[in-house]
Amino acid sequence: MMKMGLQLKTIRYAGFIGVLLVGVISCHDSIDEPQIPAGDLTDIPYNPVPYMLDVPADFPALEQPNDNPMTVDGILLGRKLFYDPLLSIDSTVSCATCHQPSLSFSDGLALSQGVNGITRRGSLSLINVGFHYSGLFWDGRAKTLEELALIPIEDPIEMGESWDSVELKLRNHDGYPADFRKAFGIENVSMVDRYLAAKAIAQFLRTLVSGQNSRYDRYLRGEILLEENEINGYLMFFNIDPSLPDAQCGHCHNAPLLSTNDYFNNGLQESPDLYSFRDPGLGAITGIAGQNGFFKPPTSRNLVFTAPYMHDGSLKTLEEVVDHYTSGGKNSPNKSSFLFNLVLTESQKSDILAFLLTLTDSTTLTNPAYQSPF
């Protein structure tokens, strides 16, 4: 049924353009005018305007592939694609279904809901994702955003579509060919393809930045003071004050991104040996048994919007998260040695929680540039 629908649509648009151009050509054939090939887009101006991202002071430089520099029109196209359910098999799911701006680009579910059931892991916040240079996804299996953006469309559970079909839908759409022209200077509708779509989406994702508006950032810049309990939490999170207990968090959630370039087993899964993890994570990608049960530490920014927590959504609240860490987590041979019974008092635990909330940046939820264009 779906396929039929698509083909009909295809014929309608393609036929329209084809007939029109044939008409034009045959009319003017005799008076020797230049022939315009079918699907020509060169009438539409291509004036790429480079986009300069405002990168927070302490952040690493934003690295973009040489063949995909950010432009104003590239980002606009990427945003449109990101919010467009056209990219899914039945036009019900867009990237934003599982990455909602109001939830810091996560989805509030333990495991995500795609066109065809429930995904194997929970969604990740996309804030600052442009700065993740050591692998994307919980298990690091995608290297670049361009590579990653190709994946959800053909994931049978997430969007269940094929790129061949999406390419046809985009080429035959009344708006996208012009958008691709403006973004990438393509000369013909036939040049609209998955790789340009992925590039545009990657450009949009690189604009999703949080690093200067949270109370934590403003405190570091000396603009505001934090409450005493928040400062206590801060000192324990990063182990700054030797007279307070070390909560160990900063080893794996390091400033400024509140993540690190490394993967860890933070004691979520019980396993008697290296081979019995329910979800082996990084180990399944690298083939190194010692890395089974290793996952990427997500950013600790905007946590208030991204519950439930962890790759399996197993911890529902930040209280549960702090309890998990202070208890030392579940045992397995390669559990990080930073996970053990931390012996924090209840008031110290609540100080850590108070600090985590200073990492909230609600401007990222309302930034007009991040919102759906539809």
């Binding site: 690493p60 050591s134 030797p242 370039n261 048994a289 990080s336 040695s337």
Partner: protein, 247 residues
């Protein structure tokens, strides 16, 4: 097989000037295998090993930053590698025996006087931070930077200790060295020959039993205070006897 212990740079006495330069532009390859052992046995993670005072320990992560790896030649050392994160975290003996391999091609041929490298990063580099480096550079890795100390983490030795000898590891330890004062340059003085078109292979072996010699892990499983660096200083001081070069 020749085995030579490293000495501290400060103890260096320049050896004989034995540089007889080969004709220009001939190059060879140097392959280095960094290997972790414990009491001479290849060190596999997550496996019990006897430690001091009846305690047993197991390692979960071993790594270090190596800087300015050079072959020595009077006047002009040959830089092989500026900076490298050497990860020695191996979960099986085969991998542990193979070690961490570093291959440097295009090394000018000749007989060198020895080898030198630093464990950690020198002060001028340590004044920078991960965000100052592009993602291809090992020093961009935030997992090797400790913000409260404004220092790179030079060497990570992590694991768990069975403090009462009852068969269960009850204490996690993470002994991370860092800070300018603890940057340590090691040097082995032994003639090393690189031949045209050939591969010279060497093992750089580090014995973690020696690394932890005299370290009271139970009392100091982690270093929390920049003002109390006695534990990690002991580790750094052990490095010269813990490292050996095997030809």
């Amino acid at each position: 097989m020749k085995l030579l212990n490293f000495i501290f740079f400060s103890l260096l006495i320049l050896g004989l000037a034995s540089c007889n330069d080969d004709p220009a532009d001939t190059k060879g390859t140097v392959t280095l295998h960094f290997k972790a052992v414990y009491d001479d046995i290849p060190l596999q993670m997550f496996n019990n090993r006897p430690f001091e005072n009846g305690q047993t320990l197991e390692f979960t992560h071993l790594s270090m930053i190596i800087s300015d790896l050079e072959l020595l030649k009077q006047g002009s050392p040959e830089l092989l590698d500026e900076v490298e994160i050497v990860n020695l975290t191996f979960d099986n003996t085969t991998a542990a025996e193979a070690g961490y391999t570093l291959t440097i091609s295009g090394v000018p041929t000749g007989t060198y006087d020895g080898m030198r490298f630093g464990v950690g990063v020198p002060a001028d580099v340590n004044a920078k931070k991960p965000a100052d480096f592009s993602s291809g550079n090992p020093l961009s890795n935030t997992a090797y930077y400790w913000t409260p100390w404004s220092s790179y983490i030079f060497m990570k030795t992590e694991g768990r200790l069975d403090t009462i000898g009852n068969g269960t590891t009850d204490l996690g330890f993470a002994l991370h060295t860092g800070s300018d004062a603890l940057y340590n340059i090691l040097e082995a003085n032994i003639p090393l020959t690189v031949q045209d078109g050939l591969e010279t292979t060497m093992d750089i072996v580090i014995d973690y039993k020696k690394v932890l010699q005299g370290v009271d892990i139970k009392a100091n499983p982690q270093n929390h205070s920049p003002d109390d660096i006695s534990t990690i200083t002991a580790i750094v001081n052990n490095l010269a006897i813990a490292f050996s070069l095997v030809l």
